[in-house]
């Protein structure tokens, strides 16, 4: 079963639907025309570019090109995590890269090579969207882990110092904040799994069903992706935070102020 194409005139018709919210917003006195226009335009251009790129990627289906695409995604995610967590990339770029690259490669390879087993493990149709989805969720988890940990440490500086003075090693002194940060990072994924299918239909499953898959097949893929997201978020956050501990402190276990971005 093929998914029905949306032809150009229908596409124009689709954009026409935006006139309704635009009109309503205008009527209640919200002048958002500019923002709405920019939003829709950006979405369209960005997705068109991705479409062109993915089309080429799928047609060529070259293992090196697929690998390069994943590498680019990892680098963009790396910088985005550090920017949003308020840490200076100069210090943490390598640690974060190692953490996310390891966990993404591990969980994507596990899923593709051992579970799905396509004829070519590097098949762009599988590894590009799956790695992308796992990475997107992993990114959220890592931002929360780093941001929570370093803000808790700065907020509780006196408590942390007290632990050190009472004979704690650096690891023993940061452990309470470390655990809280990891918990905050993985809680949304655990809660998401617990309510999956009840509150809304997950995006990937919906996409597969629209693409013509059997619901059963879509369900199995959704479970697969959730397990990989959970695994990679947890592994990446723990490795990332652990590696950052070796960078963010001086030899006397004091947090180096220069590694944190000034708000």
């Amino acid at each position: 079963m093929e998914t029905l194409d949306i032809k150009l005139p229908q596409m124009a018709l689709l954009y026409g639907l935006c006139l309704l919210p635009w009109l309503l917003l205008w009527l209640i006195g919200l002048r958002l025309s500019r923002d709405i226009g920019i939003g829709i335009l950006r979405m369209s251009i960005q997705l068109a570019l991705v479409g062109i790129y993915l089309k080429a990627l799928f047609d060529l289906n070259n293992p090196w090109l697929n690998g390069l695409w994943i590498l680019v995604m990892l680098l963009v995610a790396d910088l985005s995590i550090l920017r949003r967590a308020g840490l200076k990339a100069r210090y943490f770029v390598l640690a974060t890269f190692v953490a996310i690259a390891f966990s993404i490669v591990l969980s994507t390879a596990y899923l593709v090579v051992l579970v799905i087993q396509p004829p070519h493990f590097y098949d762009a149709r599988y590894i590009v969207p799956l790695a992308g989805m796992i990475l997107g969720n992993c990114l959220q988890g890592n931002v929360i882990a780093l941001e929570r940990f370093y803000s808790a440490l700065r907020k509780n500086e006196n408590e942390y110092t007290t632990f050190l003075m009472l004979g704690a090693s650096r690891w023993e002194a940061v452990r309470p904040y470390f655990r809280e940060a990891i918990k905050a990072a993985i809680n949304p994924t655990i809660a998401g799994m617990a309510t999956m299918g009840l509150v809304s239909l997950p995006g990937m499953m919906t996409g597969q069903i629209l693409g013509g898959s059997e619901p059963w097949l879509a369900v199995k893929y959704q479970i697969a992706i959730m397990i990989c997201i959970f695994t990679s978020s947890t592994v990446a956050s723990i490795i990332n935070l652990k590696l950052s501990l070796t960078i963010a402190f001086n030899a006397f276990d004091v947090l180096r102020e220069e590694v944190i971005k000034k708000p």
Binding site: E159, T161, T162, L164, M165, L166, A168, S169, F252, V254
Partner: protein, 220 residues
């Protein structure tokens, strides 16, 4: 006899501001010393520098004649009790707060018995039932005595006291004085309290990060 603490021409800067400049002094076992001066004169920074919390710009700090280095800092911290104006108990209730340091590897094998806990409470004139009291229901003065009890349980010999007397009533102050009359215990403190100053053998006057005067009271 060798000094327990020695500052040798120590200068410290943080955020490009000089907080200590060219500080030299030595303190021997059993001595009780007090740092005084206006706020911002660097009194607390002396205590924090000894604990490795401020990087040295020049000079050297020695503890039992060993230089302060990343390798020696944990040993120095394990021998030293730092008690501030509002000590952090770091646990839900007082019993857990007293036992907190014994969760760490450095002290895991020296967990005190119930009898030792009660003995130290009595020494600081804290009631037995305080053990089960919630940390949020402990006053500032009690927190300081609990922090002191924790130091005694850990067998610490050097006490860095930062404005401890300000939260204590006359009775608690006397208890604290009694504890420190032990000739084994060395004290380096920050205080304004005249009674405390009188009790301390050595008074260091600080001004804008410099040591301007050293007075020795008759009894030292």
């Amino acid at each position: 006899m060798l000094p327990i603490i020695r500052f040798d021409q120590v200068s410290v800067t943080t955020h490009e501001k000089t907080i200590l400049s060219d500080i030299s002094f030595a303190l021997f076992v059993g001595e009780k010393a007090v740092l005084c001066g206006k706020s911002g004169s660097g009194k607390s920074s002396v205590l924090r520098t000894l604990l490795g919390l401020h990087p040295l710009k020049s000079g050297m700090v020695y503890f039992q004649e060993q230089p302060l280095t990343p390798e020696s800092v944990q040993f120095i911290r394990s021998c030293t009790a730092y008690i501030g104006q509002e000590p952090i108990l770091g646990a839900e209730n007082v019993r857990e707060a007293l036992l907190l340091p014994f969760q760490f590897k450095a002290h895991r094998d020296h967990r005190p018995t119930q009898a030792q806990l009660l003995e130290v409470l009595q020494r600081l004139q804290l009631p037995e039932d305080i053990l089960n009291r919630d940390s949020s229901r402990i006053s500032g003065g009690e927190k300081q005595r609990i922090a002191l009890a924790r130091g005694l349980l850990l067998g610490k010999k050097l006490y860095l006291l930062d404005e401890v007397t300000s939260a204590l009533d006359a009775e608690s102050k006397r208890v604290v004085f009694d504890v420190f009359s032990d000739p084994q215990l060395t004290v380096l403190s920050v205080a304004h309290d005249p009674e405390w100053l009188e009790r301390c053998g050595i008074v260091y006057e600080l001004e804008a990060g410099r040591l301007t005067q050293v007075r020795r009271n008759g009894n030292s």
